[in-house]
């Protein structure tokens, strides 16, 4: 994950292109399985197949935000910039995953419930999760000084992270319109559906890993850019400033 020039910069190799192609193929296979291999659900019919995108993207979003949460704690403990980079990268990557959940959910709900949206506990807490992480990303743009930005956003991120269990457990804590879990205790998912669901989750996790790596690279490049910019500014300092300091640090 490092280069000789910059120890924090992930190397740019053909492996990156190969990984992108592999993840694309895995997503295509998962999409095919979701649309054509999984059996059609008896009561809802075709529209139930949205479940194979909606649920895995939601689970992967939780994984991404959990990484961000842990990274922010690690940053506050160590003050190592790499934890801040990982926190912002995983928070930002998690946002499109939640967006998929928020877009595909209403598309499923309209024909099944007869409404696009309802403000029940699961849907509302998921929407709040999305808003919190968008606010986290906006907050970072408002603070110039890097260390202060990292500390303030880490504290906010830890606060936002407490919504993750609230979203997950909301269907147990509150009476909601959202379907109850279909796997685990009390679940009754057909084994073929479960296989496709797990394949789709694997594909979304691979996508998450790929995007996280690319987004982390943006932060590492930004650090390299700032370092070079400072170096160039120091070199461009007025000549009298340099001449004013003698070999022993005294004024000439």
């Amino acid at each position: 994950m490092a280069t000789a020039a910059n120890p924090t910069l992930p190397p740019k190799t053909g492996a990156q292109a190969a990984a992108t192609i592999a993840v694309g193929l895995l997503l295509a296979v998962a999409g095919y399985a979701a649309l054509f291999v999984a059996p059609t659900e008896a009561t809802m019919g075709l529209i139930q197949r949205i479940f194979y995108f909606h649920v895995p993207f939601g689970w992967s979003a939780f994984v991404s935000f959990a990484i961000s949460f842990v990274s922010s704690i690690a940053y506050l403990r160590t003050r190592a910039p790499k934890w801040d980079w990982l926190a912002v990268s995983s928070a930002e990557v998690g946002v499109p995953f939640v967006t998929v959940m928020l877009v595909t959910g209403p598309i499923w709900a309209h024909p099944v419930w007869g409404i696009w949206w309802t403000w029940d506990a699961r849907l509302t807490s998921t929407f709040v999760l999305w808003v919190l992480y968008v606010c986290y990303l906006l907050l970072r743009t408002l603070i110039e000084e890097p260390e202060r930005r990292a500390v303030v956003s880490a504290v906010f991120n830890i606060f936002a992270g407490f919504d993750i269990p609230l979203v997950y457990f909301s269907i147990w804590f509150f009476r909601t319109q959202h379907p109850q879990p279909v796997i685990g205790a009390g679940g009754s998912l057909d084994p073929r559906m479960l296989d496709v669901l797990l394949l789709c989750w694997g594909a979304t996790l691979a996508l998450l890993a790929l995007l996280l790596r690319q987004r982390y690279r943006v932060e590492a490049l930004r650090w390299e850019f700032e370092r070079l910019r400072l170096e160039s500014e120091n070199r461009a300092a007025p000549p009298q400033t340099l001449a004013a300091v003698g070999p022993k640090g005294r004024s000439a």
Partner: protein
Amino acid sequence: MKNLNSLMAAYLAVWAIFFVYHFTVARRVARLQDEIARLKQLLKQ
């Protein structure tokens, strides 16, 4: 084939969201790499 359009809309939305996101990240990487190359050139002079 009831609700096929809704299913296709959801499927396309997923691809569109990630295509746009991947594009924005790739553009940021390219822009930063250009800036770094420019600064390195400047420092060489």
